[in-house]
Subunit: 529 residues, 2 copies
Amino acid sequence: MTHSHQPEQSDLGVSGLSVHSEAPSPADADQEQNGTLPVLTGMWKPDPASAQPLHRQIAAYLLAKISSGAWPAGMRLPPQRELCRQLGVNRSTVVTALGQLTALGLIEGRRGGGTLVAEMQPSSGDSDPAAAPAEPGRSGNWNDYVEEGIHYPNLPTVQDINRLEYEPGLIRLGTGEPAPELLPGAAMNRVLAGLSQRILPPLSYEEPLGNPALRAAVSRMLARSGIAADPASILITSGALQGLQLIALGLLPRGSSILLEKPSYLYSIHAFQSAGVKFSGLPMDGRGLIPEQLAAEAIRSKAAMLYSIPSFHNPTGILMDAERRRELMQVTGRLGLPILEDGAYQELWLDAPPPPPLKALDHEGRVLHLGTLSKAASPGLRIGWIAGPEPVVRRLADIKMQSDYGASSLSQLAAADWLEGGYHEEHLGILRGKLRDRRDHMLALLQHHCAGLATWNVPAGGFYIWLSLLHSAPPRKLFTAALRAGLLLNTGDLYDRSDRRHLRLSYAYASAAELERGIPLLAELIKRG
Amino acid sequence: MTHSHQPEQSDLGVSGLSVHSEAPSPADADQEQNGTLPVLTGMWKPDPASAQPLHRQIAAYLLAKISSGAWPAGMRLPPQRELCRQLGVNRSTVVTALGQLTALGLIEGRRGGGTLVAEMQPSSGDSDPAAAPAEPGRSGNWNDYVEEGIHYPNLPTVQDINRLEYEPGLIRLGTGEPAPELLPGAAMNRVLAGLSQRILPPLSYEEPLGNPALRAAVSRMLARSGIAADPASILITSGALQGLQLIALGLLPRGSSILLEKPSYLYSIHAFQSAGVKFSGLPMDGRGLIPEQLAAEAIRSKAAMLYSIPSFHNPTGILMDAERRRELMQVTGRLGLPILEDGAYQELWLDAPPPPPLKALDHEGRVLHLGTLSKAASPGLRIGWIAGPEPVVRRLADIKMQSDYGASSLSQLAAADWLEGGYHEEHLGILRGKLRDRRDHMLALLQHHCAGLATWNVPAGGFYIWLSLLHSAPPRKLFTAALRAGLLLNTGDLYDRSDRRHLRLSYAYASAAELERGIPLLAELIKRG
């Protein structure tokens, strides 16, 4: 299977990006497939102080890549401009090096532009008549398999974002994680110092459901939000994202369909679609999902479940009010519709605590509740959880055991100490204050620079402002133009494939100074259309 | 989809286990599905000092389980004997408590034995005529979904093992991980102490391929085994098991088939089968895979790849010799057949270093190489890697980003320091000496107690001895009988579904004293047949 039939992706097409290029310019002629920016190593550079000429160092380096199989036959080389940028040399040096490799028959130009690693003669070229010949057109290297497999690739824009987040100098206006300065550096170091004096026995595997002390701590934490879930009802996951993956693989048959808010975070990942699950998007108003519309669509689509982010919705920031939550539980109860509640942001209220989670209203085992430490404490711990009926979390634990044999014990131990030591509650208080300031700062900047260009909500919590442009703009073009201006954007199409007039802004990542540079630049881009 | 069509599993049937029961006895009449032992919480017990009678405490506890939805309608309760064991009370107490719940209509007996949580009246029982009625027979709770989903459950025996490993008192004769006393407690604590003074910025997400310092350290480590893989060719995974999952989802189309040794570790997990990939097992001799047989089967089955564990094979302990490795590379080269090399055990040589890995013989990008820190350093770090062609590891990294957004940063930082600080090499030297003693001890015990009952290999590394019984024995029966005797076994059918005469023994986990008790007990069981 190739990914040509990836859902609703065809309109994104192929487009070239050139970040930080000395000469901002239109798309390079030779592109990597999928329109994503090609990657070199990001580490090696030729040594100008060496006696060996730069072009010879580069040729030797590329030769090593090819002869080790790291760049296998059929692989496209990065465009020349990109090679120049990454190796820090000028074009003639790269052209000379590539010429040497071409002369050796190691690389070759191809019709339509671009350069490929050439097919080599089989290294085992002895002519044993007993051995079968290789299938024609089959090199036997793994590169032939890159477009195979049942799991969809990320959207090109998401692939670019995942990589560009590690390029220094970009202002990240949409990043859904706390800036490093919002993370609890000193407190986490105290947790580690405690661990370093304590672990015994050291770092074995944990039980399938996860470390018991951590599950007990999560249970107590959930109780404070009104959720009764004892440790046997809780599965520790490697982040909430893994919870989604486990549910997609473990609970839903191929061909089922699920209801969800539209736009939704879930559109930006492919966990469910790769498992053959279809989406049925529902509209929201300022109070969240609209129960009547949900009922009609549930019946029409024969939905297997509802996925919802009731508190500080990603990407719109909407908070579902208490009455809607009750209505939603009633309507879905009558429909016999289970709910997957994503509570990733519920702790991050800024003005007042949100109403109790849907799980707190559930007495039938109809709600699975996802939570995470990534949004407040530390994304890098990769610790999340699923609370739900015991037979269900055991089924998911069994798949987790087959996926990665459990989350990092080190992370689980650190997370247990983090929660039990009171660090988490203390940190949340500090974090809320800082996020409130950041939100207000971003709102003020939007008022100053974007009034007349867009409208937006005032979120009561979470990370996100959903910017509605007054005029639509092709998202990939906007993304690319922004990148040239030094801005990394999360365009609305990531959360609703047909969207052409929204941006997800986040006040959690960029600093005040970056926002002060970034928002006016963004306004300029929107103005230019 | 239900799991009734799980591959080759029907012969395992349903059987009841009763561990540590005061009265070892035949199978309970009411069983959990799949023949696995039911789980309660393992934490709560009634308080004999309380003024409230035990049966009332238990009834209140179970009521809370049911009314919170943790035990949803339709869920089977654990058998009475199991409830007694776990709650530490006698049968009449449990019977009284269950009687109270039955009287309330909360649980009900069912034909064929067993007790289910009863369907409740919908909590949202108001009669809004606008709402659709629930589908008949659909409760809407997640319990209905436990047998859905495309991912196969673990084999019942594997599920039992995964859970029973946390029951104290069992002698684990087949566990494929180092005993806690073989793990580097003090050295890992030094690594953590170092981290606790250093991390800044704290625990953010890492790059899609993984932490750069860790990739550089793995690259240097691989170089010592003859593998040229620079950091851009390496993906850090959450254990080597996740590498298998990513390859199954990312590189192989549904319906492809793969070659592998038979028996193989890969038969004991369902990563590939759940992705719709078929297995084609190959025989081995004492030198590993037999190249001629491989060629014939590759052509017949149109295999997409070969999976192999050339060094200290799991479960047989076989070491593929250097000549076979060369032949294998030649034959697969002519066939155009890519290889997935599992190098989990290659560092753990006991007598002499093994020949260079297959990846060291690869110059075309035809081998993906898996490695891990779980077998020598710390299973709980959950750190492994895949080395291979850059476009391939980037594809896998993209799926990993969609699966769990990267491995724990804390684990990655600890692993980098572990490798770079020289701890790993130092620990390996110590570990090899201890494993050598353990191997020799187990071999001596086998010689003393099992000669005439079985034959076995003398492994030159890794963890495993593959015990060949002279007479076949039904594996599930042997497993259950062993459990009653206090032994946890890994039966041969986990690694070759049709096997009825092998056991995978491991000298890595059980202590000398446990082996001295366990091997004679095992010999007794084998003798009884």
